[in-house]
């Protein structure tokens, strides 16, 4: 990276000097300079984007039409892999698990985040410390979170001990071993980890709401609830919409936490599209099939992103996008 940058900079001066000498008027030359500048600034990112994002996607699409162990010669399989993906019960269940997590996130995490953010936005004692504590889990990597919770959720582990100490021994379940429960156990861990992120995002949104509006509302005799409902929440809209977007995309791509805590088990009760992908693409050496799964996963995320952009985010991003020259 740094090396590439060096080359780019080294290439720049001669071009610039040559043009500076020959240009008579400011305007067209300025435009050309701007173009060159754009080209120079955009190329590194573009090269990386093409090399590490677009090409791999193209390669995955290409491989998905073949039967391929990764080592053998590729044999053309047409749409065979896709029909296999869409007929596979385990994959469909995995997709359903992703959707369950996404829906739960919006229904449970969002109100929680808003509530806590409103609380932490008020003048309360130890606000800075509380904010720090709330945000701390987000700083941990997903792998560390998973290992810590895996240990705590072992039979007779810390979680069980706490329930027992509180006299709630009857509540104890096989948190990670019960196929009907495991997905919700994972959701609790996900909430623990990502709640802080939502809160910080919403706090930032809250700070940008001019205090004059609240003052005006209270002068007009609005109650705290009315102010929140009619002034604060609508103005928080863009932040909430972007949080929903990030949360759903995150839920669709959920992997690390699940893989470490359950490997998608027991009996695929907690598998997600991404764990299914790794399980089939790598563990089984079915790279053609795995690629098809990856393409489906990509398509699901992409279609969601497009629809969401079109219908929910458009108002927020309009005007925020900088128009490129001309």
């Amino acid at each position: 990276m740094t090396q590439s940058g060096g080359i780019a900079v080294a290439a720049a001066p001669p071009a610039r000097a040559g043009r500076a000498a020959s240009r008579p008027a400011r305007r067209p030359g300025g435009r050309r300079a701007k173009r060159l500048e754009l080209a120079l600034l955009l190329t590194p990112a573009l090269v990386l984007f093409v090399g590490f994002v677009l090409l791999p996607i193209a390669a995955a699409v290409y491989y998905s039409f073949y039967k391929w162990t990764g080592f053998s010669p590729r044999t053309w399989f047409g749409l065979g892999n896709y029909s296999r993906v869409l007929e596979d019960e385990v994959f469909l269940h995995s997709l359903l698990h992703n959707i369950v997590i996404a829906v739960l996130s919006v229904v449970i995490q969002l109100p929680l985040s808003i509530g806590i953010a409103l609380l932490l936005n008020g003048r309360i004692k130890g606000r800075a410390a509380l904010r720090l504590i709330v945000f701390a889990p987000y700083v941990l990597s997903e792998a560390i979170t998973a290992v810590v919770w895996l240990l705590m959720l072992q039979p007779d582990g810390l979680v069980d001990q706490i329930f027992k100490a509180a006299g709630l021994g009857g509540v104890i379940q096989d948190w990670l071993a019960d196929g009907d429960l495991v997905l919700y156990t994972l959701f609790v861990v996900i909430t623990w980890k990502y709640l802080g992120f939502g809160i910080i995002l919403l706090l930032a949104g809250l700070q940008s709401i001019p205090p004059e509006l609240r003052e005006a509302a209270s002068t007009d005799g609005a109650t705290a609830w009315q102010t929140t409902r009619s002034i604060v929440l609508p103005l928080l809209g863009p932040t909430i919409r972007i949080w929903i977007f990030l949360s759903i995309i995150g839920s669709l791509q959920l992997f690390d936490l699940v893989w470490i805590m359950t490997l998608g088990g027991p009996a695929n009760a907690s598998s997600t599209m991404a764990t299914y992908l790794l399980d089939h693409g790598f563990s089984r050496y079915e790279f053609g099939y795995g690629s098809a799964v990856a393409v489906v996963l990509f398509a699901v995320c992409f279609v969601f992103a497009l629809i969401y952009q079109r219908f929910a985010l458009r108002r927020d991003t309009e005007g925020a996008l900088t128009r490129i020259v001309e």
Binding site: Q3, S4, I7, A8, A11, A15, R35, L36, L38, A39, L40, L42, T43, P44, L46, V47, G51, T69, G70, F71, S72, P73, R84, L151, L153, Q154, P155, G157, D174, W175, L176, A177, D178, G179, V182, T262, L263, G265, P266, A267, N268, A269, D279, F282, S283, R284, Y285, E286, Y289, I324, V325, E326
Partner: protein, 435 residues
């Protein structure tokens, strides 16, 4: 993007882009030297193994150092990795132009799948003079009669059990038949002792159970034919699932076993036995060294002993047939003759003895190093291995990878109460059809 560039400028931009892209392209291209024609030419061997922790980590390094001392033209770049991560790394590396020179190899159907890449060295000619020393063991690393890898140790799956807990429950001798095993389970339960621990989270320990029922129910010929033709048409395979179903119904495992890992932490299935919280575990010979970091009890090994999987009344399997496998190494074609020579060194009595003495390997692949085994229960394991009329490599390793993993998944589902004995066979058939 609306930036329109005139042709020369576009060319210039492309040139700049290329000048930046090319160094990185060449960097991940060909960085190792080509195959040396001369055996004494300097060569660097990249070595990927799964001995990420001591003792294996230090021992493999010292083996490399010693070989380098004896053959100064050969230098090593040793890159250890965690077992599961290593498997993924290897499968990716074999698709790249530069796989590692030497890498961990478990043989069987997975090796056959990898050989299709054309990047694994056929060392049949080079090892001919000495491979006989390893006996039958080396055949697991052959594909169609050609040697593509050399084992450095062998594995057998059987029951590790706590002598102290068996005594407490009044079990006089380790069970020899399924009836006796069921009896032992009942006795242990009566004393409130968890009879058997299992690491079902990892799936493969489940497969050990089904596999053993299968090789007890199916004749050796049937098993061999199935691995070769990929057809489970003999009713014995379904019978194996029914036996397993009956056994699962006795509820012999620890609480919440579906979420228990096999080897990580004191709460793992290995940890439970090491800490005296469960009386038995069906696992490989590697359990003994695996347990060392999982318990505070330094004397745990003396409290353990081993017995083979019981016989099943009426089963067609040859008595004494064992489920096992081993660890070995393969060479990349590019690695050159030095690699095969290095593997010969690893299989030598000296190194093999050292592997056993340091707990890097429990059962050496070279029979001459057997005398180095000290632990009494490991001696029992070794004797069983020696007397086994046939050793079936774990099915997930013996079968083509996609089929083996599908079988593991089906058995794991079965442990979780989903599916049926016939369902396991169907999953196998389906995976073969999808191959």
């Amino acid at each position: 993007m609306n930036v329109r560039l005139s042709t020369p400028r576009r060319l210039a931009a492309i040139a700049v882009a290329l000048s930046m892209a090319l160094p990185s392209l060449t960097a991940c291209g060909d960085d190792s030297s080509d195959t040396p024609a001369d055996a004494n030419a300097p060569v660097t061997l990249t070595w990927w193994h799964n001995g990420q922790q001591d003792p294996a980590l230090g021992v493999w390094q010292s083996v490399a150092d010693q070989y380098h001392k004896d053959h100064p033209n050969v230098t090593f770049k040793v890159e250890p990795a965690q077992n599961e991560a290593l498997k993924t790394k290897i499968s990716v590396a074999l698709q790249s132009p530069n796989p590692p020179s030497i890498f961990q190899q478990w043989g069987g159907g997975a090796l056959a799948t990898q050989v299709e890449s054309g990047k694994i060295m056929d060392m049949t000619e080079q090892v001919k003079p000495w491979i006989g020393e390893l006996g039958q063991a080396a055949t697991g690393w052959q594909v169609e009669g050609k040697q593509y890898g050399i084992p450095y140790d062998l594995h057998v799956v059987g029951f590790w059990y706590r002598k102290d807990l068996f005594e407490q429950a009044g079990i006089a001798a380790p069970p020899k038949t399924m009836t006796e095993l069921n009896d032992a389970v009942a006795k242990l339960k009566a004393k409130n002792i968890t009879p058997i621990s299992i690491g079902s989270k990892d799936k493969w320990p489940d497969a050990f159970w089904w596999s053993y029922f299968a090789i007890r129910e199916c004749s050796t010929d049937t098993v061999k034919a199935t691995v070769k033709n990929l057809k489970m048409d003999d009713p014995c395979w379904v019978k194996a699932g029914e036996d397993l179903k009956a056994f699962l119904a006795t509820n012999p495992f620890q609480n919440a076993f579906l979420g228990t890992p096999a080897q990580q932490g004191a709460g793992s299935s290995a940890g439970l036995v090491a800490n005296g919280k469960a009386a038995m575990e069906l696992q490989g010979d590697w359990e003994l060294p695996t347990m060392i970091p999982l318990t505070e009890d330094k004397q745990f090994a003396s409290k353990l002993s081993w017995f083979p999987f019981p016989t099943i009344e009426g089963g067609k399997g040859t008595p004494g047939t064992a489920l096992g496998g081993g660890d070995g190494f393969s060479c990349a074609v590019k690695a050159g003759p030095a690699c095969a020579d290095f593997l010969k060194y690893i299989a030598s009595t000296d190194v093999q003895t050292k592997l056993v003495q340091t707990n890097t390997a429990t059962l050496p692949s070279n029979p001459k190093a057997i005398s180095a085994i000290q632990d009494p229960s490991l001696k029992t394991v070794q004797e069983y291995l020696n007397s086994a009329p046939y050793i079936q490599v774990y099915f997930d390793q013996a079968l083509p990878t996609s089929v083996g993993q599908a079988l593991n998944d089906a058995v794991a589902d079965f442990f979780a109460g989903k599916g049926s004995p016939q369902g396991i066979v169907d999953a196998f058939t389906k995976a073969v059809a999808n191959k």
